[in-house]
């Protein structure tokens, strides 16, 4: 499907806000001691609290609170010194208590913001930066799972997931294209993994996006929004928004009206449709949960958590620009190097070996060869067979002229498949380039003697023949001649 979002842009303004449910990476549930591990046998990770037996009570998990604070600090948000757990009341088989413990008017994390890099989808437009405001983030419990079609006319309820801690992160409607929405989601996804509060596994539902979409003609008040629920891949988010925007525009242009609705995206058809259930009487009857007291967070607690926070993507980006720009590192490099904490950590480790003056060289190999190889072998950064120390060792041999670039590619290939460090590989495979001027002079003398005609041409001013000589010399040295040195000698001798 073409990107109407961009085609239509002048006539229609698109307004998008996201609500993202991140499963916090705690061992136990937010209000009980049952495990949160994914994929267990049905109801083996349910306890008395998970199935809401009469008389059992919630007790808050410290780990969930710490992770919420961590996120708040990471997006520069205000952390509420006192937030309140509320009950959101509705009936659903996967909601054992008949209410979800959530936070309503007093969430733990307040206003913050996230800076995103947008890669526009339409061909020639340039990447740009945008700040998306985060409205709030609140703690709540996940629901269980309804498994359909086990047996005829019956739905099976598995409460293993019920009570898994969630941080629901709500953005302002600051995004105006599918590209921006996806960029925000990706940046958020990398951030929650970066600070270690969520494993980010979208297939397992650890990171679920609800997207609010509305359209309006420029200058008009906000249009009615429809909420696309539970998107668990960036690709689907892209498709769902494109389809939904087109649908809303068509509806309005055909004189129709948009009604607020919760809708689902069907990846197979690429279409969205309104949900039938849970639509009746959206009256959640929120009120403060009397089983839980207000959640107090002291400055001391904040500092404790702050101390556990790693260097954040934006801090790293800032530092890279500051420290490595004279080595030639570009803005694009910086973004790529901080795409994930794993890449950045690899880069930092590598720099400690080769030194900051070679940051650009290091970045080129990391973003180039290394990423390419990882993709080919379908590996994560953490599974990279070459350690930052190994790579750094090889880069040092490039910078000190021991090996040529082509030699380096060979060393890299061997390191990847067989391991070992650069120096031993260079030795074993004899990849050391010839820097012995005597040997080079000898080769050059022989070539000049053997090709008088071309020498004459060169001397008559046809200096493009120079490449011809370089070629021959390299061939003669089996590619090991130090290129800089060879050029120097050739120039000198050809000059006669």
């Amino acid at each position: 499907m073409p990107h109407q979002t961009n085609v239509r842009a002048p006539e229609w303004e698109i307004v998008i806000g996201l609500e993202v449910h991140t499963q916090l990476s705690t061992n136990s549930k937010i209000f009980s001691g049952a495990s949160t591990t994914y994929g267990a046998e049905p109801n083996t990770q349910a306890d008395a609290v998970s199935i809401a037996l009469p008389g059992v009570l919630p007790v808050l998990n410290k780990g969930a609170v710490e992770r919420a604070i961590k996120f708040g600090l990471a997006v520069g948000a205000h952390i509420a010194p006192r937030s309140v757990f509320a009950r959101k009341n509705y009936f659903y088989p996967d909601l054992p208590k008949g209410y979800q413990i959530s936070q309503f008017d007093l969430p733990v994390v307040g206003q913050g913001s996230l800076t995103i890099q947008v890669e526009p989808l339409s061909g020639n437009a340039k990447p740009y930066e945008k700040v998306v405001r985060i409205t709030r983030a609140h703690l709540e419990e996940d629901a269980g799972k309804s498994v359909h079609g086990e047996s005829q006319g019956v739905t099976g309820v598995d409460l293993n997931r019920a009570g898994t801690p969630l941080l629901e992160i709500v953005s302002e409607p600051d995004m105006s294209s599918a590209a921006e929405a996806v960029a925000y989601a990706k940046t958020l996804h990398s951030l929650v993994r970066w600070i270690g509060i969520c494993d980010g596994n979208m297939q397992e539902g650890s990171f679920r996006c609800d997207v609010n979409v509305s359209v309006r003609r420029p200058g008009e008040p906000l249009g009615t929004r429809r909420e696309i629920k539970n998107l668990n891949s960036f690709k689907f988010m892209q498709q769902a928004i494109d389809y939904e925007v087109q649908w809303q525009i068509d509806t309005l242009e055909n004189g129709g009206k948009i009604h607020q609705a919760t809708i689902l995206f069907n990846p197979d058809t690429g279409e969205t449709r309104a949900m039938r259930s849970k639509e009746d009487a959206h009256d959640y009857r929120y009120f403060p949960d009397p089983d839980l007291l207000p959640l107090d967070i002291t400055p001391a607690m904040l500092e404790q958590v702050r101390a556990t926070l790693p260097e954040l993507p934006q801090q790293k980006q800032f530092r890279y620009k500051l420290e490595y720009s004279e080595s030639g590192l570009t803005a694009y490099d910086v973004i790529s190097l901080t795409a994930s904490r794993e890449i950045a950590d690899y880069f930092d480790a590598c720099i400690t070996v080769v030194g900051s003056s070679n940051a650009k060289l290091c970045a080129n190999w990391l973003i180039g060869e290394v990423s390419a190889q990882l993709n080919r072998d379908d590996l994560e950064m953490t599974q990279c067979p070459i350690t930052p120390q190994q790579l750094g060792g090889m880069l040092k041999r490039i910078t000190d002229g021991t090996i040529s670039n082509s030699g380096a590619k060979e060393v890299f290939r061997i390191m990847w498949s067989e391991g070992g460090n650069a120096d031993t590989i260079i030795e074993a495979k004899g990849l050391k380039q010839v820097s012995d001027s005597g040997a080079i002079e000898k080769i050059v003398d022989e070539i000049i003697a053997a090709n008088p005609a071309q020498v004459a041409e060169y001397r008559s001013g046809k200096d493009k023949v120079f490449g011809f000589f370089v070629g021959l010399a390299m061939k003669a040295s089996k590619g090991k001649a130090n290129p800089a040195q060879l050029n120097e000698v050739l120039k000198r001798k050809l000059a006669g």
Partner: protein, 95 residues
């Protein structure tokens, strides 16, 4: 505050309690009676008074993040009206 039949029907629906059409007027009357009795609350001046949500003036306790329970599927399903293949069974849910 008197409750009409539609409101009574809506409340019963929200509470997931079946009330036959014929019984709605009686229900509406009952609820109205009780709510009328509560009307006196609206005459009280509460300006500047904070709602009293919890009696206990203390900090919410937190438990350490450790797994202490689970792997008791049989007990979990023991009291279920209908359990199959490790699941609680309910009439088909439509989304």
């Amino acid at each position: 505050m008197s409750i009409d039949i539609d409101t009574a029907r809506k409340v019963a629906k929200l509470a997931r309690i079946r009330v036959e059409e014929a019984d709605l007027p009686a229900l509406a009357g009952e609820l109205s009676g009780i709510l009328t009795f509560m009307e006196q609350l609206n005459e009280v001046d509460v300006s500047g008074i904070a709602p009293m949500t919890s009696v206990t003036p203390m900090r919410l306790k937190r438990r350490p993040d450790v797994v202490t329970d689970g792997n008791i599927q049989a007990q979990i399903l023991a009291n279920a009206p209908d359990a199959r293949e490790g699941f609680f069974a309910v009439p088909k849910v439509v989304e």
